[in-house]
Amino acid sequence: MSHHLFLLSPSDTPIYSLTHYSTKLPQPTSSSLSSNLPTWSTSAFAGTLTALSGASNATQSHHVQGGSVRMGGGQDRHVIQMIANASLDVIEDVMRKESSMYLKSVDKFNEWTVSAFITPGNMKFILLHETKNDDGIRSFFHDVWELYLKTMLNPFHTAHSPIRSIVFDTRVRASAKKYL
């Protein structure tokens, strides 16, 4: 059960992204930005990849079991980003009508649900997840929002530059572990 978080600036430049594997199940969280997804997670993409690439079932299952994770990881990353980008349009539509910050799930793509959170400064936090976890996700978004506020107060941080702070990264991961 993995989650992907993206923070986007008002001009839609990516500020931060994180892949997190849920610790609700007793599994080690080895999240890193360029990590390749382990096999058990790749199976989640089997449905998505099949639909997209049109490959045969046999080939897909071979990929899943054969452990050619490297290739699977690369494709999955693109898929995730594509889903995230596609949801931006939907988010903008909903944004105009909805006045609250937490927009629940704005989009659904095969097994992935996209939830969004819009800050008053028009920063978009997008979370891709498979399971339904509204409360946890809402608390997680609020936590990320607070961490983001603290980062914004750092005079060395400029509004649209990527967040490279390790402290921020650690805290977001800890918060993800707690709520997701």
Partner: protein, 207 residues
């Protein structure tokens, strides 16, 4: 008349409480941060930025000392050790509402005899170290890697303030940062070393 450390603390506390114009600490930290970032963009050399911050602090310090002495109505300090106490417990407290810890050290004697405490008062070379456990200037700040490598002392303005203020009371001092939590060190430390007493008095009146 020797004022004990407790009395200094009480004086500092009173001064802080009696001040009516206080400002939001976030605003203060943000303003200072913006200032430092702008200096970095203008000069692009961290050593130069340190120097400029110190110069700015010097100008502030020369003016600040008047306000401080007027409000606190403290007399002349008997020795450099007392200077350290007053600076930490009254000065920092009344302006920044923090009380750094003070560690005094005697001057290294010219001969190789072990230094005795009695030598310390007023001997050029004696110093004290202020250890700040919190720094209101550096709230929310995280230094980027280039600043760390370039050797930026973020709160260098404090060094200038101390130098300027003490120079106005006839002490020439050297003030420098030893460590800073922003740079990953354990604590923030400033060392103030007495270089010499300035003897020339400004002639008063029309002699």
């Amino acid at each position: 008349m020797a004022t004990t450390s407790k009395q200094y603390k009480a004086i500092g506390e009173d001064l802080w409480k009696s001040r009516t114009e206080k400002i939001n600490s976030e605003l203060f930290a943000l303003t200072y941060g913006a200032l430092v970032v702008q200096l970095i963009q203008d000069y692009e050399d961290y050593a130069e930025v340190n120097k400029q911050l110190e110069k700015m602090g010097y100008n502030i310090g020369t003016r600040l000392i008047e306000d401080f002495l007027a409000r606190s109505s403290l007399g002349r300090c008997s020795d450099f050790r007392e200077v350290g106490e007053v600076v930490a417990k009254v000065g920092f407290k009344s302006f920044l509402n923090i009380t750094p810890a003070v560690t005094h050290s005697a001057a290294p004697p010219p001969s190789s005899r072990p230094s005795s405490a009695a030598q310390q008062s007023g001997v050029p070379g004696s110093s004290f170290i202020l250890t700040l456990d919190e720094n209101p200037l550096a709230e929310f700040v995280e230094l980027p890697d280039e600043a760390l490598e370039g050797g930026l002392w973020f709160s260098n303005v404090l060094c200038g303030v101390l130098r300027g203020a003490l120079e106005m009371v006839q002490m020439q001092v050297q003030v420098e940062f030893l460590s800073d939590v922003l740079r990953g060190d354990e604590s923030t430390e400033i060392r103030v070393t007495l270089l010499k007493y300035l003897e020339e008095e400004v002639p008063v009146g029309d002699d």
